[in-house]
């Protein structure tokens, strides 16, 4: 899988830390707001909001929180909303396994990552054991 690059010409809309469970709600509301601003429909808004909610929860549950970067940029000629989640958690040992339906390392249902991937237009993940995980999702209209 390709390395996630931070050298982009995207417009940064904000960077926020996830520390408490309340942050998850607060920041996903922000994401919904930005999706609305990007004139996405209600279904698209719900999709991206749910997708980032999954990612935020993963960070909160497994990595003791992390940072969220919300950006807007041009992807293949489309105006995209880009959300990047960065944590310094334990990392994911087997990405292929984590991306398969029904697998869970904790108490979840096992649909978090693969489900998130189905909800967005582009999904990138990069993880190193004991170093952390970066997940980037993109949604366009």
């Amino acid at each position: 899988m390709n390395e996630i690059s931070f050298d982009n010409n995207w417009e940064q809309l904000g960077k926020y830390p996830i520390v408490t469970e309340h942050d998850i709600v607060k920041i996903r509301q922000l994401v919904r707001h930005h999706a609305k601003e990007a004139r996405m429909g209600i279904v698209e808004q719900t999709r991206i909001t749910t997708a980032v909610s999954e990612l935020f929860r993963n960070m909160f549950n497994y990595a003791e929180g992390g940072d969220v970067l919300i950006e807007r940029g041009n992807i293949d000629g489309k105006n995209a909303l880009i959300v990047t989640c960065i944590d310094q958690g334990p990392g994911i040992e087997d990405l292929e396994l984590a991306m398969s339906d029904g697998y869970t390392s904790g108490m979840g249902m096992g649909y978090g990552l693969p489900g998130t991937k189905r909800l967005v237009d582009r999904f990138e993940i990069q993880s190193e054991k004991d170093k952390g995980t970066i997940v980037r999702v993109m949604k366009w209209r």
């Binding site: 919904r32 209600i42 279904v43 719900t46 693969p114």
Partner: protein, 229 residues
């Protein structure tokens, strides 16, 4: 005056300055250097006196500011306590379970379903099921804007535990957008009875009720709605 006496006198005064400075350093800001004669040293002595005055003033200011800050901090702490208390109150308030009909309970869920709320909600519902002996309960999630896997998981757990107590759970109020999202996430909610609106759930529950009490569907109105569905 011989040079020696002048020197002795100057030495004395310098020692006095030293004493005053060390008193100030020790925290005594009331001491001042008393100038007896006017000469070159007087300027230095006065300058030191002015410095002590300034220092006293600044210290008073910073003490005042510290007190103000501490007052503000304690106010903020009080507010924080109020917020926490209100959050707890809200948790209790936000999961009302009401009996709306014979045998039928309704639990309207509004807002965000985090683990703590989900837990309280489940406890309230299960307790009410036991207390009232109702065997139908409706969980209305019209007011829940985001259903992710954790929320779905909480709902599944609530329904499963209600079932263990012998009560059927119906979930109502899933919006079209949330329905599509749930499907894409890959969550299987087919084990749960779901209805689009609270009204549908209510009709379903009442019909079930009639079946339970009379062994068959009695009301013509209710059987009609089933056909049109």
């Amino acid at each position: 005056m011989s040079e020696k006496i002048v020197f002795e006198k100057a030495k004395e005064r310098i020692e006095h300055i030293e004493d005053v400075l060390s008193s100030v350093a020790a925290g005594d800001l009331d001491v001042r250097i008393e100038a007896e004669i006017e000469d070159d040293l007087t300027g230095v002595e006065e300058a030191i006196n002015i410095l002590i005055e300034d220092l006293t003033y600044e210290l008073k200011q910073s003490k005042k500011m510290r007190e103000e800050l501490e007052e503000k901090l304690s106010k903020i702490e009080d507010q924080q306590k109020t917020i926490i208390r209100q959050q707890d109150d809200l948790l209790e308030l936000s999961s009302p379970v009401s009996k709306v009909w014979d045998n039928i309970l309704i639990l309207p869920v509004i807002g965000t379903l985090d683990s703590q709320r989900a837990q309280i909600m489940m406890e309230n519902l299960l307790q009410k099921i036991v207390d009232t002996g109702c065997t139908m309960s409706i969980l209305d999630i019209t007011g829940v804007p985001t259903v992710d896997t954790q929320v779905a998981n909480h709902l599944l757990k609530t329904v499963t535990s209600a079932r263990l107590l012998g009560a059927d759970c119906i979930i109502s109020g899933i919006s079209p957008a949330i329905a599509q999202t749930i499907v894409h996430l890959g969550i299987d909610l087919s084990v749960i009875k779901t209805k689009a609106t609270l009204q549908d759930a209510m009709i379903y529950a009442m019909r079930k009720n009639n079946q339970l009490t009379h062994g068959k569907i009695k009301s013509d109105h209710l059987s009609e709605t089933e056909e049109t569905e």
